[in-house]
Symmetry: C2
Subunit: 216 residues, 2 copies
């Protein structure tokens, strides 16, 4: 007996068996991405995506059972690049070097397609998260938490909170820079580094630390 079709599935209805269909899927996803970053959610409709991709709506719905599935696929596609770059960061012995690489990856990720990254990030929170694919933020946080334990970084009393703070702070800065059209990666990397390492350093009595500005 055939496995009954679960109408709530988000996976493609058919896995592309011929090269032709795989290309179609790619074209659809890229069309969706361009619409999203050029005209935002307002123009992000299934009909418009199909039109821009140069395919019929029917083709679209052969590979994506619902509009939401396209968005999910987009999120996965964009996220995979980032996750791949930071996957081996757990093996990094130096906390500082690891943090730098993490920052660089975050900056690259956001500055590559700023508008797209921002909108997908927004949608990611709204969509019911898949149980199988863990949240990207959580993954990064655990890597971060790991790096914070390295001996070359000041010990943190609440690493989990620090990790979330650093991630949030980086996201905010990188997002803002991308929105303003910044393209200079090194400058942004340096500034994010200032905030991140500044946060890590500034854990003693802040007032005493601040007073030391004068004495130097």
């Amino acid at each position: 007996m055939a496995k009954p079709l679960d109408p709530s599935r988000l996976e493609p209805r058919k896995s592309p068996a011929q090269a032709r269909s795989a290309a179609t899927v790619g074209v659809i996803l890229e069309a969706a991405a361009r619409i999203l970053e050029e005209r935002g959610f307002e123009a992000y409709t299934t009909n418009e995506i199909a039109r821009r991709a140069g395919v019929g709506v029917g083709s679209l719905y052969q590979y994506f059972p619902r509009k939401e599935a396209i968005t999910r696929a987009l999120i996965q596609r964009e996220t995979a690049i980032l996750l791949n770059e930071i996957a081996d960061l757990g093996a990094e012995p130096s906390g500082r070097a690891g943090l730098r690489r993490l920052i660089q990856a975050a900056v690259m990720h956001q500055l590559r397609r700023p508008a797209l990254a921002r909108l997908l990030d927004f949608e990611e929170r709204r969509l019911p998260l898949d149980a199988d694919v863990a949240n990207v933020s959580d993954t990064i946080c655990s890597i971060l938490e790991d790096l914070l334990g390295r001996p070359d970084l000041p010990a943190q009393s609440d690493p989990a909170t620090v990790a979330r703070d650093l991630l949030a702070l980086t996201k905010g800065m990188v997002d803002s820079a991308g929105e303003r059209g910044e393209t200079a990666m090194e400058s942004l990397e340096r500034r994010v580094g200032r905030a991140v390492f500044g946060y890590l350093q500034m854990q003693l009595d802040e007032i005493a630390q601040a007073a030391s500005f004068f004495k130097k």
Copy 2:
């Protein structure tokens, strides 16, 4: 002859002349706010807002010429509180104290109604901005830039960029905290302070600074 009605106006069609109508406007705005923070943009429709407010759609359209006008009014209502609290910050002689007050105001603003603040902030960027009402971010940035010039803070080579970075970084952290359901204002304030003052301090050679962790 009567002034011709500009159909693109966003102001109320009628200014409430009786107490009754002023109340209606309030009820509509609060209904819109609650729908937004409880069910997001998906349920944010004019029909639903009117239903929840307990009024007819017609009443809604007597005071708001288009749906967008409701959102704008919401943004103004929520923003006014924040702007009012930081308006006198330019007179603050101490940069540190000013920054602290600014951080506190930002934390309060976001933690009061986290989901609402987040969604309105998102919409604010999408909506064509009124020429008369300047962007909130720009206002805060100029205040920030002003504070950065105070003698008790380390001089910054590019105050405008620093101001934007601090704002973005704060927004990111406060946003994330609000989304996670944090309610402890002092803790969040302290952590944002760490990032902000850490960023300001960390402007010399970062590596040298970091090395000093060990020597202490």
